[in-house]
Amino acid sequence: MRILFKTSYLDDIRLFPHSGYLIWYGILGACLLLAPLVLREFHVGELSQVFILAIAGVGLMLLIGYTGLASLGHGAFMAIGAYVNTYLIAKGVPFLISFPVSGLAALVAGIVVALPANRMTGIYLAIATLAFSQIVEQVVVRWESVTRGFQGMPVPAPDILGHPLTQAWEFYYLCLAVLVLVVLGAINLIRSPTGRAMVAIRDSEISAQSLGVNLVRYKTIAFAISAFITGLAGALLGHKLKFISPDAFNIILSIQLLLMVVVGGLGSIHGAIFGAIFVGGLPQAIALMRDYLPAVIARTPGLEPGLFGLVMILIVLFEPLGIYGRWLKIKAYFDYFPLYRRATFKRQRSYLKTERVR
């Protein structure tokens, strides 16, 4: 076990607390860079899908995991990103401009949602964002002059400085680059005063307010940044699917995003990535399992959402800290080897603390 001796605040917020981080992340980065050389085209495509999910997951994690605001409507931000991007490209705007603009469009939508959302907490917020996503879905269906409704729109390959990224490996590197930028941005945000204020709001609104954190301002910022990142992911998803229609961005997508951050582990960027790997890999795992399951179960159409539900229930009940929490526990076990105590990670509260007064 390594004991870090910190002598200043800068030591505490360093991006890589010790050389071990640099080595392991270096190895991971090298593997990801070399992956398209080794993997088949199908798997490269699947990996880019995971990257896109991870980008959206980081966006949602900033909101749910770091600011403590539940959103059931993040699929709508993805839809906004995808449609704005596709519409602009169809109008002849180059990808390098339309891509950030699609994020900005989602950002504006995020601020619009945040304005009423600042007055709500907990369930009201969750319900309001759910309502928002339903409204966006209807707008996408009905505003046919722009979105072409249920007919959907084809999405051309992203074009960077006159070079269209038609190959799977080219798109893979694009997604990887965006993901790395987003993750670095998110980590930097978390260690900045803004990020600290967000975490303070998550842990206790009342104490954050008492310490002088402007709730409305920081909640709006959190919503805006989260929506921006999710919008970028939406634009990339559009390119990945090559065709967008309202069905691609329904409530199931929002719930998948939610599942990602919960399964991965709330309150950590790692969690968003782990969650994306889980959600991106689950359909593959189910497809593999289908061969071994009895035919009656394997051929049921609603199998996937049902399995999603089951996994979520089990995780919320038995591992509230998610995959990342499990990883921390395993690490702690070996760090403290014969001295590990289960109570280290025990939940503090086991009674109902009321949120209301009469």
Partner: protein
């Protein structure tokens, strides 16, 4: 005349929203859990009744009763076995748990009963009553009457029975109720059972109109809007919220361009939340600094 006709239809629809919303509010008042699976409980109740009446050929009322009893047991066990474990975790965890429960129920129902839409022949299907020029489908009347009867029964139950009083007490202050010797855990499970019964009634009343398939639970999202408009606190307010949503939605569907009908409930809800974040008829406030 057309307006009156629309209002009656909207009232019937609103009654169903109100009933589903009532299920949310019962659970929320007692345990501060928001049950996102309420719509799916309704779906399950409708399927149970369909099985008893349609497949097994029992009498409609007997099947209705059996379905309600089965669902009550289901709700009780759901709380006792799964949901009770989560008390003390953040509200968010509860939201996720009930959402995933909804997914599981929908998938399970699809597995058992199939994903095709099924017709539920009730004594009210396709029959009309003429009141002067007014032509009223019997289904609508059954929905309104069912809601009225249920509301009356709930009023009597909460005010004149020991269990009802205990439920009120434990929803006002769990700890105090516990000290007074009320078995709070069992009361909470009973409230889940009660809420499942309400959901079943909503499902069976709705089934002649909307038919039955595993995705009718999505109606629960609209019922949410009703519950929020009603304030998530008072039972009467909730039913009123349902009526507001049902009637306005029907009128909007008739007089505004298509698309507005689907989202009007949410727009209304957002507007209410902006003006009165605690709902129109709420008696509760949040903690403030």
């Amino acid at each position: 005349m057309e307006l009156l006709q629309l209002i009656v239809g909207g009232t019937a629809q609103g009654c169903v929203y109100g009933l589903i919303a009532l299920g949310f509010v019962l659970i929320y008042k007692a345990t501060e859990m928001v049950n996102f699976a309420q719509g799916d409980l309704m779906m399950l109740g409708a399927f149970m009744a369909l099985t008893f009446v349609g497949t097994m050929g029992l009498n409609y009322w007997l099947g209705f009763l059996l379905a309600a009893v089965c669902m009550a047991a289901f709700g009780y066990l759901l709380d006792a076995l799964i949901l009770r474990r989560i008390i003390g975790q953040p509200q968010f965890a509860i939201v996720i748990l009930t959402i995933s429960l909804g997914f599981l129920l929908r998938s399970g129902a699809g597995f058992i009963w199939g994903h095709e839409t099924q017709v539920f022949e009730t004594p009210f299907t396709n029959r009309i009553v003429k009141l002067g020029e007014l032509i009223l489908p019997l289904e609508s009347i059954s929905m309104i009457a069912g809601t009225l009867i249920l509301a009356g029964a709930l009023y009597l139950f909460f005010n004149f029975t020991k269990v009802g009083n205990a439920m009120q007490a434990s929803s006002q202050n769990q700890l105090a109720a516990y000290y007074m010797g009320i078995p709070v855990k069992r009361i909470n499970s009973l409230i889940w059972a009660l809420s499942a019964i309400v959901a079943t009634i909503a499902g069976v009343l709705l089934s002649p109109v909307s038919l039955v398939d595993p995705s009718i639970g999505f109606l629960g999202i609209k019922a949410f809007a009703a519950a929020v408009i009603g304030g998530f606190g008072s039972l009467l307010g909730t039913v009123l919220g349902g009526l507001i949503v049902g009637i306005s939605e029907t009128l909007v569907g008739r007089y505004l361009p298509p698309g507005f009908k689907e989202i009007f409930a949410y727009l209304l809800m957002l507007a209410v939340l902006l003006v009165r974040p605690q709902g129109l008829f709420s008696t509760m406030q949040r903690k403030k600094v």
